[in-house]
């Protein structure tokens, strides 16, 4: 093995095929960039789920004066009912992690605080808001257990799971991620096709060399290596560009633009970028290498 010889062959090949090489680099960069972005969105959804599921509560609203659900036909919740609900909630530990009782007054205070800049505050009286139990679950996905135990029982107006609202939002993000992933896959297919074609052109433009190499007994490995390295190198450069794009996405789009405007939620950290970057890079290089390998097997036969 003579490294300098192989290196000069690779360099020569890349220069001779400059436009094709550039095309490969750009498509690899774009497809891997999208691929990385979709992975980043997925990581973001994961981060937000962790953040929000930790905070969501199941609210059990108790019957007030104006409630008109069938379970409230007995009128306002009685002291006994309230105590029974509390006891039953306690019985559900450890699924029930935390129980907090919010009285009408407290609900009203919180409401005033939340909407302090809105004229709606003036139109709501202290008694209009229902009292409730706020329940935090150790496993937020087990909402059904609580819902089936309390929904419809006398004195309980409604059982609400905040997760339902969040899930809509996560589904939206999931959809975005899926779209980015689909585009990335299409782009990766385009990239593979382009590499196949590039290798075919490269093999053809060097058919004199390769035919002589075959005749003098160069091994297949030695004949194909410069081509493989060329493809891997182009893909590697494209992959690096994609990683730079990923870093910019995190450093500028997320940290500088999104995070300051949406302070109520958490965003992915750099460790997500650190995990995604090698995946993206290796995907590019391995894919290019495989595409080149199978093309060359066809065009550079012994």
């Amino acid at each position: 093995m003579r490294a300098t010889f192989v290196a000069s062959e690779v360099g020569g090949g890349l220069r001779r095929n400059l436009t094709m090489t550039l095309a490969v680099i750009i498509t690899v960069a774009v497809s891997l960039g999208l691929f990385g972005a979709s992975l980043l969105v997925r990581a973001q959804v994961g981060t937000m789920k962790d953040f929000w599921y930790d905070k969501v509560e199941v609210s059990i609203f108790l019957c007030g004066k104006g409630s008109d659900t069938p379970s409230c036909s007995g009128g306002e919740v009685t002291e006994a009912q309230r105590e029974q609900i509390k006891a039953d909630l306690e019985a559900l530990r450890p699924l029930v992690e935390d129980i907090y009782y919010e009285s009408k007054t407290e609900a009203f205070e919180r409401f005033k605080e939340q909407f302090k800049n809105s004229p709606i505050v003036n139109s709501v009286s202290e008694n209009a808001l229902p009292e409730s139990f706020r329940v935090k679950l150790s496993d937020p996905t087990k909402y059904d257990v609580v819902a089936s135990a309390f929904a419809g029982r006398p004195g309980v107006d409604q059982v609400n799971d905040q997760r339902v609202i969040l899930d809509k939002f996560f589904r939206l993000l999931g959809g975005l991620q899926l779209i980015a992933l689909l585009i990335a896959i299409v782009m990766l297919i385009v990239t593979v096709l382009l590499i196949v074609n590039t290798m075919r052109v490269a093999a053809f433009s060097r058919r004199r060399e390769t035919s002589i190499m075959r005749l003098v007994g160069a091994s297949n490995f030695y004949i194909q290596l410069p081509f493989l390295l060329e493809a891997a190198l182009a893909a590697g450069v494209g992959g690096l560009a994609a990683i730079v794009a990923l870093i910019l996405m995190k450093g500028i789009l997320i940290d500088q633009v999104l995070a300051p405007s949406f302070q109520f939620t958490a965003f992915v950290g750099w460790e997500a970028v650190a995990t995604i970057a090698p995946i993206v890079f290796l995907t590019g290089v391995v894919l290019a290498g495989l595409a080149a390998f199978f093309t060359l097997r066809k065009y550079l036969r012994v």
């Binding site: 010889f5 190499m213 003098v216 297949n220 030695y222």
Partner: protein, 229 residues
């Protein structure tokens, strides 16, 4: 060195075999002329020896190996012991004489110290000393063929296959090339040369193998080109 045992080669697209039940043996150190009209099977014969084709039936033995049973990855090692020369020289136009010969060594991973030593040696053998830095387009046809022969011979192969090496050259130049091939033969390399050049065959008086329509029609030591044409 080379043994053909009832070798038949039928190409997929043709009904008549390119070689039909050919059996012959070539000993180490021989100089063989392979003659016959175009389409008689000479090229197929040489391609079978180089294992660029496999026989449809029969066995081809080269350098003690049965090529059908030789796995793909061993072919390069086998070809390193065989030099090849063609009518159209097959030089790399963007490389100098020295680089063209060195290329054959570089691609089989020989160290550059070895290359720097043996390339000038072989260029001297073929009579191209002082022309190391020329490019193929600055050389005459005969000189280009000498570069090709140097490239084929630089590994000191046991067998040299020459496919009409004088086909593109004028008679005077051809004689020089033949003298060179004769010299290489005398250095111990078996030479198998296909040719249409009656004059050369008649002058050299070596073993002549004649193919016609895929059949072996003549195998004659110290032969001439042919009675009829």
């Amino acid at each position: 060195m080379i043994l053909f045992d009832s070798v038949t080669k039928l190409y997929a697209s043709q009904t008549r075999p390119a070689l039909d039940d050919v059996s012959l043996e070539i000993e180490k150190g021989e100089f063989i002329f392979l003659v016959g009209p175009s389409g008689s099977g000479k090229s197929t014969f040489l391609r079978l020896v180089l294992r660029e084709e496999r026989p449809t039936s029969g066995q081809v033995w080269v350098l003690g190996k049965e090529l059908n049973r030789l796995s793909n990855w061993k072919i390069p090692a086998m070809r390193r012991q065989i030099g090849t020369v063609f009518q159209d020289f097959r030089l790399l136009p963007n490389k100098t004489v020295f680089e063209n010969v060195a290329f054959a060594l570089e691609v089989i991973g020989k160290p550059s110290s070895h290359i720097k030593r043996v390339v000038p040696e072989v260029l001297e053998v073929v009579g191209l000393e002082g022309k190391e830095q020329r490019r193929p387009d600055e050389l005459s046809g005969g000189e280009q063929q000498r570069v090709a022969i140097a490239r084929a011979f630089v590994n000191r192969p046991l067998l040299l296959i020459a496919d009409e090496p004088t086909g593109n050259l004028d008679p005077g130049t051809s004689i020089g090339i033949m003298k060179l091939l004769d010299r290489i033969n005398k250095l111990g390399t078996t030479v198998v040369m296909s040719t249409h050049d009656a004059q050369i065959v008649d002058q050299m008086r070596r073993r002549v193998i004649e193919l016609s329509g895929g059949h072996l029609v003549r195998d004659q030591s110290r032969g001439v080109y042919g009675y009829s044409r």
